[in-house]
Subunit: 217 residues, 2 copies
């Protein structure tokens, strides 16, 4: 599968890129600055002995079969405003979390209720938006020596798209849990606020969550 | 400890009452209708061979050292509007979750950001509000034959009050995790929307959550 990761030079995007490349997917790291994306892709690829490429966000979205967003919440409109055509009919995975650090309220969703719903509004109904991967810590993604102890909670309105997201999760060893329609994206995104607070309070780098009570543990 | 559970005739309140009575706490079940509370307390107590009493919500709040709210989110103002004096300087535990069933958006918090913050506004700054126990399923509370496989996530602005809440959790076998200030109550409450969706989708009665990555598992 050809995966384009927009805003993929950051820690979360780079971690996902590595895990997917290691699982045999073809990955393009996207950035506003295509050169920066290429440099990052080359450095990461050399380090992990996998093949990654870099491109502008626009080119990454255009070429990819699956578009993954690891963009800051505040920059969605600027980046996605003119990518509606590039994302049409594609599975678009929003990992975006609308958090505001600085001592006030940590979870600060947009008026749409969640960043994923803002993405859906910006890209239009033809983008197959799934919210997922918010809770998989960058630190855990980068540590390939142990399994990631966290469930992949995802939600969205397109059942086939969610199946594909679940497969992408399983390809890095994650159990996928379907948490319903995209109107549950706010709750999913807000769990990251809980985990960020726990990380800080308990001096952890990558707390995560597991759902209990499901068949098979 | 003398615990008053307002709206305690429902499943969640009754389950908490049973677990705390079994742990040796004195528990008053409160209801709008004092007679209903007394009947419920007697029936529950006889069944579980513990001593419970029933009272009006007002009397339960007035007599209790710790006030627990298992009220519907829509009824907070009506019940708490004139309990400011009864709750002054007391630890008030809000288990309230603002969910709206019926097919639209499931998590529907009040303008304050969360039901717990609405409680704080209604009771004033002198109530020591802690948000907690949202994720402990009534079905699990009622099943005393096995340990509850769920963490007790709590948040609030009063460190001593949170310690007491953690103790109340440990008295029913729960690990307590401090998730910061009361501005994180929205995220905590919204996790219940995720769990309710999972219960429905996977046909479960009591899914729960565990935080991973903490020392000791």
């Amino acid at each position: 599968m050809l995966i384009g990761i927009l805003g993929g030079t950051g820690k979360e995007g780079a971690g996902l890129a590595l895990r997917w490349a290691e699982a045999g997917h073809e990955v393009i790291i996207g950035s506003r600055d295509a050169d920066r994306a290429r440099v990052k892709a080359e450095a990461l690829g050399a380090e992990a002995k996998v093949k990654l490429s870099g491109a502008s966000n626009r080119d990454a979205a255009t070429r990819a079969e699956i578009v993954v967003l690891t963009l800051p919440a505040s920059g969605l409109a600027a980046t996605l405003g003119d990518l509606k055509d590039a994302c049409r009919d594609k599975v678009v995975i929003s990992t975006v979390v609308p958090l505001t650090f600085g001592g006030g309220r940590l979870f600060t969703p947009p008026p749409q209720g969640s960043s994923a719903e803002e993405v859906q509004e910006l890209l239009g109904a033809e983008a197959r938006v799934v919210a997922a991967f918010h809770h998989i810590a960058a630190h855990e993604l980068a540590s390939a020596d142990h399994a990631i102890d966290c469930d992949l909670l995802h939600c969205g309105g397109d059942a086939e798209a969610k199946k594909l997201v679940a497969e992408l999760g399983r390809s890095m060893g994650l159990r996928a849990v379907d948490t319903g329609p995209l109107t549950n994206a706010g709750p999913l995104e807000s769990i990251t606020a809980v985990l960020a607070t726990i990380n800080r309070r308990y001096k952890l780098k990558g707390s995560g969550i597991k759902i209990t009570g499901l068949p098979g543990g």
